[in-house]
């Protein structure tokens, strides 16, 4: 399956530096159509307004966490099939299992590198 590098991607993190890092790493991998949100509720609003092909979200954010956002996405008939990757510093087994149960497609622990990000993107989207 060919991956469309122009696909719209939503990245969610409360740290602006992290958004910038992820955006730049994605750009390096060839993805240029990237939108940002700084918490779950803002992300949900954006996701409902525009159809994204991929969501990459942090966990620990205020007021709505990435976990709640994930559950909202999976509960929404319009959004429920959107690929969702969690990128977070939360690295307890319980977190990973909870996220998986909630329907996350993949999980990246911070700090991460470009190679890890690419591997996970390939795992979720297919080779590119």
């Amino acid at each position: 399956m060919a991956v469309d590098l122009g696909m719209p991607i939503l990245i969610v993190d409360d740290y602006k530096t992290m958004l910038r890092i992820v955006r730049n790493l994605l750009k390096q991998l060839g993805f240029n159509n990237v939108d940002e949100a700084t918490d779950g509720s803002m992300a949900l609003e954006k996701a409902r307004a525009k159809s994204y092909s991929l969501i990459i979200s942090d966990w620990n954010m205020e007021p709505m966490t990435g976990y709640e956002f994930l559950k909202e996405v999976r509960a929404d008939t319009q959004l429920k099939d959107t690929p969702f990757i969690m990128v977070t510093a939360e690295s307890k087994t319980d977190n990973v299992i909870a996220a998986k149960k909630a329907g996350v497609n993949n999980y990246i622990v911070k700090p991460f590198n470009a190679a890890t990000l690419k591997t996970k993107l390939v795992a979720v989207l297919g080779d590119f």
């Binding site: 992290m18 390096q28 690295s91 307890k92 087994t93 990973v96 998986k100 999980y107 990246i108 911070k110």
Partner: protein, 328 residues
Amino acid sequence: MLNEELPRQIELLVDNLRKNGDEARSLTDVAMVTEVLIGTMQAFFKTVDTAVYKECRQLGEYISNARKEIASLQPVDSTGDDDDERSDRLPRAGMELDAIVQATEDATNTIMEAAEEIMGADISDVDAYQALTTDAVMRIFEACSFQDITGQRVSKVVQTLHHIEERVEELSQLLGVSEKDILESKKAEADKITEDQALLAGPALHGEGIDQSSIDALLNDMPPPATTSEEPAPEPTEPTSKEPAPKPTPPPAPEPPKAVSPKQLDNMFEEDFDPMADIAAKEEEKKAKEEAAAKKAASAEPIPEPEPEPNMPAGEEVSQDDIDALFG
């Protein structure tokens, strides 16, 4: 109060007995007086009892409250039950801070190494140059993620500090520490600080301190001799300090220099540390670490992907590999 009444009542009784002179006392008289006396004494002892009891109870409460407050400050829970999260807050905070220092150091090194690679790259082969810079730039981006992670760690430490602040506040209220006590202890502390220590406040917060242009202005305003006289002796660049004074050579000594030359100024500030040696030491340490990491990675590689759940103990931190195993 009753204890004042007691002697008076006994006095009354005695007076009463005296009034009747040396008439023979009937048994009933004696019995009556004794009864009154017993009643009075009982009432007295009862009040003494309750007063002492009250005091004791208050003291007990006070001690147990103080103990509770101190216990909540206690770094490690000695009973071993760790359902109380704050039991390991203090050591945890220390570890978070250590991790912050480590993360910023690693990030700084990674960024500087990448920058050095770009600076030292061979530009004759454009393709190789582009590949190298791209790779280096990526590593810089990756390294910058320390800001997010250290930020999260810092907010945890701040939480712990707030918690301790509250506890200490409660404890000091409990113990009746007054403003005056605080001021006194502050003053005592201030007295202990030497002049040198007083100059070590660390980095200023936003809005504190002065900016570079104010510093420049200050330095320009300062009369040059002041800098030399205030600087302690070990000034290798200052020939004057080596020359003992009793040398009344006619040509007026060129001692008081017009101004400190930039070079001299640099020497003044850099005397104690040798940046090159510092970098070399860091380099070596880094190399050793990398080698260790490489060895570890090499030995880790051939191991097949572990089975998902079984080796993921609940509640523990897991690695990316463990997580990958979960997602197959």
